[in-house]
């Protein structure tokens, strides 16, 4: 489809792209600017694309109304552990399913793939009961254990397996001749070469954990333990009405760091996603 475009077509294309871009970019802009508007200006008419008056006290209020720093830390460390844990569990399983011959490997792969069919929403009731029995309700364990070992990591395992299947067998054979056993082949040869796939897995997993909402509201009950998505919905006044500017300040603090990391690393980010086994 790639042909050189005529100048007129080029301008038209730029125009079309810019219009299409509005719903993708405007909300973030609106969030940023509204978070520093005083509450009285927030529904001003006509809408202000740039704040008339700045009120940065919203950001301080976020921390006064809730243990926001603590909640931020909760989300961050859970996402970090889940990401790291999934990378370990899925790369090992994906590698074994792709490259090691052992009896019943296909059957076991099918069992693991069942995880794709059974989203955590289906099993949320018994999971709640299980964690209740283990005394893990209102702890972060369910938010770590289920994603790392359960259904959400299956997709990562699948991506890793697709990658390792394409790895030339000769490399492993050369490593065996060079004196490496299975674990060292995996650690020193296969894994370093799997960086793009691991990157994609890390991104998916981090975002999944960072965005978890149903699980935290089911498993967590005290504000100290809340994660960010849960905390964001708690900025309400005595009547349950949303305190928009404060909520948007909290949302901004939640969204912007990840967005900045993404924009800095967008090349690796996007290409990592594109070049995994997702192509079929």
């Amino acid at each position: 489809m790639k042909t050189d475009l005529s100048p007129r077509l080029r301008v038209a294309l730029y125009g079309l792209l810019c219009v299409l871009l509005i719903p993708f970019v405007f909300p973030t802009w609106w969030m940023l600017t509204s978070s520093v508007k005083p509450i009285s200006d927030i529904f001003a008419f006509p809408p202000d694309l740039w704040p008339r008056r700045f009120d940065f006290s919203t950001y301080a209020k976020v921390f006064e109304l809730q243990p926001f720093a603590r909640q931020y830390w909760n989300s961050a460390y859970i996402a970090a552990i889940v990401t790291l844990g999934t990378m370990v569990v899925s790369s090992m399983a994906g590698y074994a399913f792709a490259r090691i011959k052992f009896p019943f490997s296909n059957t076991m792969f099918m069992i693991v793939l069942l995880g794709l069919l059974i989203p955590s929403e289906v099993t949320i009731v018994p999971l709640f009961q299980m964690f209740l029995g283990w005394g893990m309700i209102n702890t972060h364990w369910p938010l770590i254990l289920v994603p790392v070992f359960g259904a959400p990591s299956v997709f990562a395992t699948f991506v890793m397996r697709q990658f390792f299947i394409a790895l030339p067998g000769e490399l492993e054979e050369a490593a065996r001749v060079d004196g490496l056993g299975r674990f060292k082949i995996f650690w020193l040869i296969a894994l370093p070469l799997a960086k793009p796939a691991l990157g994609a897995v890390a991104i998916f997993t981090f975002l999944h954990s960072w965005n978890l909402y149903l699980e935290p509201i089911v498993f967590l009950s005290s504000t100290q333990m809340f994660t960010l998505p849960q905390a964001l919905t708690q900025f309400t006044d005595a009547y349950g009405g949303a305190m928009w500017n404060i909520q948007l300040a909290a949302a901004t603090m939640t969204a912007i760091p990840v967005l900045v990391v993404f924009i800095i690393a967008q090349k690796q980010f996007v290409e990592g996603l594109a070049h995994t086994g997702l192509k079929g």
Binding site: F24, T28, P47, G115, I124, F128, G150, I263, G280
Partner: protein, 306 residues
């Protein structure tokens, strides 16, 4: 060198190369396999077991009732509305998501300066926290919010988006599409760029125009990606929860109460764990059937597979 005498058959050590390797294989998959058994298979069996019970956590009752919950499922007057909402949501989401993703991918596949900037921006909502994104849209969609403000400036009176049955569903779908379409867009873009150039050159030599090239070459060549992304998108659409909880809480009425949201209400707001489990089984069956059907359709819609 010479081996004149017959050697007796050699005893093989127990840990042969193949056995050592198999042991390594089991060790490698053990964490994942045990995890799936513990956090997926056992809970799935439990869900089924629970679904045969009348179980109210508040009243502390747990009685075997056989298929009563399933009869209740059939008699549940709210359920048709829930399933309809789920269907409208999923179909609307998948159709809108896939076509927008394909359109964006085709546009971004052109030779144009600064195209990667556009790519980054279209993708950016994917990395924005889901609840943050939804809160912003919720703010924008308020009756006196940003969108109606903009519309008023050009003399249009916008509806109360989240309180009107029709626009509420549209809003929920559209918010979710803008959030995640970047992902499918990137996968389509990669697939488009993987189509060998010679095919287009050959088609041009054969006299095929742009539209024909797209229909006869591009679509068949990227059909495996289309299938895969459609499966992921459909299954994903059935899991949508946070967006509904933040934007509409299932309302107005029950117009945006999709199955997962209904399940959550029954189990964790009304504490009917038994009936909640029955709804879980229903969700599982729907996901399984849809995946199976799509997998079967693979042969018919995927023209090409490597």
């Amino acid at each position: 060198m010479s081996l004149m005498t017959e050697t007796p058959p050699r005893k093989r050590p127990f840990w042969t190369m193949a056995r050592r390797d198999a042991a390594a294989g089991y060790l490698f998959i053990a964490p994942q396999l045990i995890g799936i058994i513990a956090f997926v298979l056992i809970p799935l069996c439990l869900v089924f077991y629970y679904s045969l019970h009348e179980w109210n956590v508040l009243a502390n009752t747990f009685n075997f009732v056989g298929a009563a919950n399933y009869q209740m499922l059939l008699a549940d007057r709210a359920l048709p509305q829930v399933l309809l909402s789920s269907a409208i949501f999923s179909v609307g989401l998948v159709v809108l998501n896939m076509s927008l993703a394909l359109l964006l991918a085709v546009l971004l596949d052109q030779k144009l300066k600064g195209i990667t900037v556009f790519r980054t921006l279209f993708f950016s909502p994917v990395v924005v926290s889901l609840v943050a994104w939804t809160i912003v849209w919720s703010f924008l969609l308020q009756n006196n919010g940003g969108i109606n403000g903009m519309l008023a400036m050009i003399g249009v009176e916008g509806p109360n988006w989240l309180r009107n049955p029709t626009t509420a569903m549209i809003s929920v779908i559209v918010v979710q599409v803008f959030k995640n379409v970047g992902l499918n867009m990137i996968l389509f873009l990669a697939a488009l760029q993987g189509v060998p150039k010679e095919l287009y050159e050959a088609a041009r030599v054969d006299g095929a125009g742009h539209f024909k090239q797209f229909r006869r070459i591009t679509l068949p060549m990227i059909s495996p990606t289309i299938l895969l992304t459609s499966i992921i998108t459909i299954v994903g659409s059935l899991q949508v929860f946070a967006q509904i909880a933040v934007l509409t809480q299932g309302g107005p009425g029950m117009t945006t109460t999709v199955l997962v949201y209904y399940l959550y209400q029954q189990a964790f707001q009304f504490h009917f764990f038994g009936y909640g489990s029955t709804l879980s089984i229903l969700l599982f069956v729907i996901v399984a059937v849809l995946t199976f059907v799509q997998w079967q359709m693979r042969k018919r819609i995927v023209f090409y597979e490597n």
